[in-house]
């Protein structure tokens, strides 16, 4: 079992996806990454004052993904911190931030891996932020109070990330009996259930930090104009 020693965490471990699946997720992720880099350039060019806020979203992700929290299942996992940036800037630039955090952890912390980077960026940098942003925008349109929309967006985005992680592992490792679905149930029981209380903590954290940002950075946030931009570019 020596090869299986992994340091506490929850991304897909180095070498645990067969090469064809590793490549598959790289190919799926690449266009989002290109789009994310362009979107990031655009935001910074249109709003130079937003650059610090982008760095803030990155810093938030750094902090949250370093906090490994205990969960009801008796294992540990960590929040993603992706919801905050997705709510502020829309989902696409989070691909870039997610990639940076995952690279840092794969190279320095043996947490996640280079071969599984595509899959991990897909679940954490694409699906999580898309879910957070979509839920937030939907709830705001339904005139749900902003704190509740932020909480639901961040919590469900964090949860979605790990449901996708479980699915990625299940697709690559289908069970002999029951196929990928049986595997999915097993992986989801580990990743998904562990993540529930942690996702709730992440939701509350995101509400707290956004409360501060809406107070101190009202102008920058207003200039980003998330809701209007969404309707113009879809």
């Amino acid at each position: 079992m020596g090869a299986f020693t992994v340091i506490v965490g929850m991304h897909i471990m180095e070498g645990f996806l067969p090469i064809k699946w590793a490549l598959f997720w790289v190919i799926i992720t690449a266009p989002f990454l290109i789009f994310g880099v362009r979107e990031l350039n655009r935001i910074v060019k249109d709003n130079p004052s937003a650059l610090l806020l982008v760095a803030f979203a990155g810093a938030f992700t750094f902090v949250l993904s370093a906090l490994k929290l205990p969960s009801v299942t008796g294992s540990c996992s960590h929040p993603t911190g992706m919801g905050l940036g997705a709510i502020l800037f829309g989902p696409y630039i989070m691909v870039v931030i997610g990639l940076i955090v995952l690279l840092f952890q794969a190279i320095l912390l043996a947490h996640g891996g280079i071969s599984t980077l595509g899959a991990n960026v897909f679940s954490m940098g694409i699906i999580g932020p898309l879910a957070s942003y979509g839920i937030y925008v939907l709830l705001i349109k339904m005139r749900v109070p902003r704190w509740a929309a932020v909480f639901a967006g961040a919590t469900l985005g964090s949860l979605a990330t790990y449901v996708v992680t479980a699915l990625q592992l299940a697709l690559a490792h289908p069970s002999e009996v029951g196929g990928w679905y049986a595997s999915f149930i097993k992986f989801a029981a580990v990743f998904g259930v562990t993540q529930i209380p942690i996702a709730i903590v992440e939701g509350i954290f995101t509400v707290m930090v956004l409360n501060l940002l809406f107070k101190y950075s009202e102008q920058e946030i207003a200039s980003l104009n998330i809701l209007d931009r969404r309707s113009c570019c879809e």
Partner: protein
């Protein structure tokens, strides 16, 4: 209720949640969810061998926690710099903070 009162209450909720999970699982190992996942992989797919190992692994748990602490410290450092900078900027501009809640 002011924003800071609200935030302090939310922080308390988080603390209670985390302590409650520790309390309810006193015998548990609290290993990483990915550790458990690698066990499931070897159970479902006994023939599967990870074909790549991490390029570098922190030599001990202490070094790993050093790096994680560094990661959190860098992030927190920037967050606090930003909030302090914005608060100072507002003060300089003479903006009066009106708490709408």
């Amino acid at each position: 209720m002011s924003d800071s009162t609200k935030n302090i209450m939310l922080l308390l909720v988080i603390t209670v949640l985390i302590i409650a999970t520790l309390w309810s699982n006193t015998g548990a190992e609290f290993a990483g969810a990915d550790d458990r996942a690698s066990e499931i992989v070897s159970e479902i797919d006994p023939g599967y061998n990870p074909w790549l190992e991490n390029v570098w692994e922190p030599p001990s748990g202490e070094i790993a926690s050093l790096l994680f602490a560094l990661q959190a410290a860098l992030g927190t450092g920037f967050i606090c710099f930003y909030l302090g900078y914005k608060a100072g900027q507002r003060k300089k501009d003479g903006v009066v903070l009106i708490d709408k809640h």
